[in-house]
């Protein structure tokens, strides 16, 4: 085989060097091209994100409630809005609080005048909304109520916590935060639905808390004035004979009063308190260890049920009269999520 000449070798080396240089340049150019395109795409996405929300909605619902003052209603409204967004429904809050200076009935009438597709009425205390609900019904706008019902109206659905389940959740809270095997527990009762609540409580303590020796004392506080309730709480917690280890408050209002009494009488830590509701002060109390646990309706599920109930009625013309939702327990272990929200 003939030997390659020196010139050919030199030429070959130059050619190889040139090819290497070309390939290296091409690789760098390609990488730069990718970087430039990526930067453009990234920026395009950023610009698109700040542009108008192009999501389309089928229905327009309004949430009538004191979302400005009630943390619970606010969370339920947010949950309904979030779920509605996923199912093509725009849920808009019409605040009934002090800032708006409007009544529930007025807001329902306003919603009717807006021509919305559905109305969610949250935790109203007023008794005169039946007419407003009827006017909505005449305008073929379905109304669902949440937390508080309007039994004599034409509302389509009432979404409420399952009282038996609330009792179960309280029981699980007791089991979770119990500091001793033998416990004296006082329950402040005020509603007509005590039986179901107590049944849920007792059943669960017997089943899941059978390792504990629990003595339950009930105190009826129906129609009791605030100052009297505060005194009663102070007496109970300082009564050595009763030796209360844990105090259960089944409503948000009662919980707030009890907490106030404990703080006023400097009784924090003397007994464990399990309350109901979700507002800033109660959450802070859990965070500080002044309240052991809070029971609270599952807001995500509630919001979802509100939207589903209205969707179901609009789409099929029928819906359930009552829908119950489960409760959840807030302790120092999961308080972070709620404080952040």
């Amino acid at each position: 085989m003939p030997q390659r000449s020196d010139q050919e070798k030199v030429h070959g080396r130059i050619s190889k060097k040139t090819d290497f240089h070309t390939i290296r340049s091409l690789v760098i150019i390609f990488i730069l091209f990718i970087m430039i395109v990526s930067a453009f795409v990234f920026l395009r996405m950023q610009v698109a994100n700040v542009s108008t929300d192009e999501q389309k909605y089928r229905y327009h619902y309004v949430f009538v409630g004191d979302t400005g003052d009630s943390r619970m209603l606010e969370i339920i409204n947010d949950a309904a809005g979030e779920y509605g967004r996923k199912s093509g429904v725009y849920v808009e809050a019409l605040d009934t609080g002090d800032e708006s200076d409007s009544s529930y009935a007025d807001r329902i009438d306003m919603a009717v005048a807006m021509g919305v597709n559905g109305i969610i009425v949250g935790a109203q205390e007023e008794k005169d909304i039946a007419d407003a609900v009827e006017r909505a019904s005449v305008a073929e706008i379905p109304v669902v109520t949440v937390l508080s019902d309007c039994p004599d109206s034409l509302r389509k659905t009432f979404i409420e916590p399952d009282v038996y389940d609330v009792g179960r959740t309280y029981a699980r809270s007791i089991i979770a935060v119990a500091g001793a095997r033998k416990l004296n527990i006082a329950v402040l009762v005020e509603s007509d639905d005590n039986d179901r609540f107590m049944a849920g409580l007792s059943d669960t303590l017997q089943n899941e808390g059978n390792h504990l020796d629990i003595n339950i004392i009930t105190e009826d506080i129906t129609d009791m004035p605030n100052f009297r309730l505060m005194d009663l709480v102070a007496e109970m917690l300082t009564d050595e004979e009763m030796d209360i280890d844990m105090l259960l408050c089944p409503t948000e209002y009662t919980t707030q009063i009890v907490y106030q009494s404990v703080m006023d009488h400097d009784l924090a830590g003397s007994s464990q308190i399990v309350g109901y509701g979700i507002n800033e002060s109660l959450l802070r109390a859990v965070s500080n260890g002044e309240i052991s646990a809070l029971v609270y309706i599952d807001a995500d599920q509630t919001g979802m049920e509100c939207v589903d109930a209205l969707n179901g009625y609009i789409d099929s013309g029928v819906t359930r009269d009552h829908i119950t939702v489960e409760s959840i327990m807030i302790t120092s272990g999961n308080i972070g999520r709620y404080l952040d929200e």
């Binding site: 340049s25 430039i36 994100n49 700040v50 389309k56 725009y90």
Partner: protein
């Protein structure tokens, strides 16, 4: 398959256009992106502005309605209807159907609230005109309620929208800040991208030119066994490269032919030289066979000794001078001598000639002794003197004289030989000085060193032309030959 050639100029223009276009495109894209962001910023509060404008108009309408209800002043209604018409136009622009966005849902709600309000105000005005006090009060109350619903919703919406728009404005501002940084980075990357692309394409374009320069350099250094291996014939460089390869091939062929021709000629010349050398060698051998210098000198020496034994002193001296004369000629025919030695051989020659011709040559030498050791080519004077005797003095009737003088003149040593013979015609002088004496003249010089030979040797030895001057004024006025020897 060869491509259609494209001008190098066009290729370079295309490369620059490519990079320019890429930068331009990126800038346009950046400009449009920034424009979009600025538009978004500008329109961030459009909803609030529109709501505020509607609210203002709505307040005017309600005020005008109040005035009419309270005063029943028909003149105020014109303004009411004008404002209402304007408001309806705005409301009309907010109507939407089908699946709607969040903003469109809200606008649709405003449309419905407004429609109800417009209807209730018209009803209130009609009731007022009818004079039914109870009815117009009820209708007016409804219109007030609808107005309150509308402005309440607008206020809520305005507050809500303002919060959302503020958030949106902040997001746009953040994105704009990000965009400024990213666009700067993109421009920098694009600059590097273009420089690399330019470098790559120009390098690709210039590579054949570099190859051409490399090969041309090698050819310039004498290496013709090279060729441009990679020829891209799609521009002028490719054409030049191809022509260069053809040129190398032609050059190699021409050199091959030239070498063959030179070799052939060289062989012929070598053959000729060999023949000539052989002939000269033969001639030399012939001459050597004729005259053996040693034999001649031994013979002359034997004659000289015989003359001395017979006490023939003049014969002895004559034979001795003849021997010296030939010895000098044989010994120094091609070497370097001095003026002194040259004068000695001239003396010997004159002596021999005078013995032969009964002393009829009157020789006189006037020599500057400082110049005696000046080096000169040997055998330059005797041929001149011999020439004087043979051609100048041979046939004259008067006393024959030869005057030789050596002296300095400027930076030369001059040796002058003058005779009083017949002289030399001008045309002959011309031929002598130009070395154009014919064969007959040279034949006459055979056996000695001719004047032509002396002139040639002097010119070669001193590397100059004006080494001799021949002066002959006219016929029978004699001749002077002067040699100019540089010092």
């Amino acid at each position: 398959m060869s491509r259609k050639p494209v001008k190098l100029q066009n290729q370079i223009i295309c490369i620059f256009l490519l990079t320019f276009a890429s930068i331009l495109l990126v800038n346009l894209y950046i400009f449009s992106g920034m424009r979009e962001l600025i538009d978004n910023m500008d329109s961030a509060y459009d909803g609030n502005r529109k709501l505020t404008d509607m609210r203002g108009l709505l307040d005017s309408i309600q005020l005008e309605l109040d005035d009419y209800i309270n005063t029943k002043d028909e003149s105020g209604l014109n303004k009411f209807y004008k404002d209402m018409a304007e408001y309806k136009i705005i409301v009309e622009s907010l109507k939407h159907e089908g699946e709607l966005t969040e903003q469109e849902m809200r606008e649709k709600a405003i449309v419905n609230l407004s429609t109800r309000y417009v209807r209730s105000t018209n009803t209130a005005i009609l009731s007022k005109r009818s004079g039914d006090i109870v009815r117009y009060q009820e209708d007016y109350a409804v219109s007030v309620r609808d107005y309150e619903h509308l402005i309440s919703y607008m206020a809520d919406l305005n507050t809500k929208s303002f919060g959302e728009n503020s958030g949106k404005y902040e997001r746009i501002y953040e994105v704009m800040h990000q965009a400024n940084i990213i666009y700067s980075v993109i421009l920098a990357l694009m600059g590097i991208f273009d420089i690399l692309l330019l470098n790559l394409l120009l390098r690709r374009l210039m590579r054949p030119l570099q190859e051409l320069a490399r090969v041309a350099n090698e050819v310039g250094e004498g290496n013709l066994d090279v060729a441009i291996s990679e020829i891209h014939d799609y521009n002028e460089i490719g054409i030049v490269s191809s022509a260069f390869n053809n040129m190398i091939t032609s050059l190699k062929e021409y050199i091959r032919q030239f070498k063959a021709s030179v070799e052939s000629e060289s062989r012929l010349r070598e053959k000729s030289i060999r023949m000539e050398a052989s002939a000269k060698e033969a001639q030399l051998k012939y001459l050597q066979a004729q005259i053996n210098p040693h034999f001649l000198f031994n013979t002359l020496n034997a004659g000289a000794q015989l003359a001395m034994l017979e006490e023939a002193d003049r014969t002895y001296s004559y034979i001795l001078r003849v021997a010296d004369f030939f010895r000098y000629r044989i010994k120094n025919s091609e070497g370097i001598s001095t003026i002194s030695e040259e004068l000695k051989i001239v003396d010997d020659y004159i002596y021999i000639i005078n013995v032969r011709f009964a002393g009829e040559i009157h020789y006189n030498a006037d020599v500057d002794e400082k110049l005696l050791q000046t080096a000169v080519p040997s055998m330059i004077l005797q041929p001149i003197v011999e020439n004087c005797i043979k051609h100048g003095l041979r046939d004259v009737e008067w006393e024959k004289k030869i005057d030789l003088s050596v002296y300095s003149e400027g930076d030369s040593t001059v040796i002058s030989v003058r005779d009083n013979g017949v002289g030399i015609p001008d045309d002959v002088i011309e031929r002598i000085l130009n070395n154009k004496l014919n064969e007959d003249d040279n034949e006459k010089m055979q056996g000695g060193v001719g004047l032509d030979n002396v002139i040639t040797r002097l010119r070669v030895f001193y590397d100059r032309e004006n080494v001799i001057e021949i002066t002959s004024v006219e016929k029978d006025m004699g001749t002077e030959i002067a040699l100019y020897i540089p010092r």
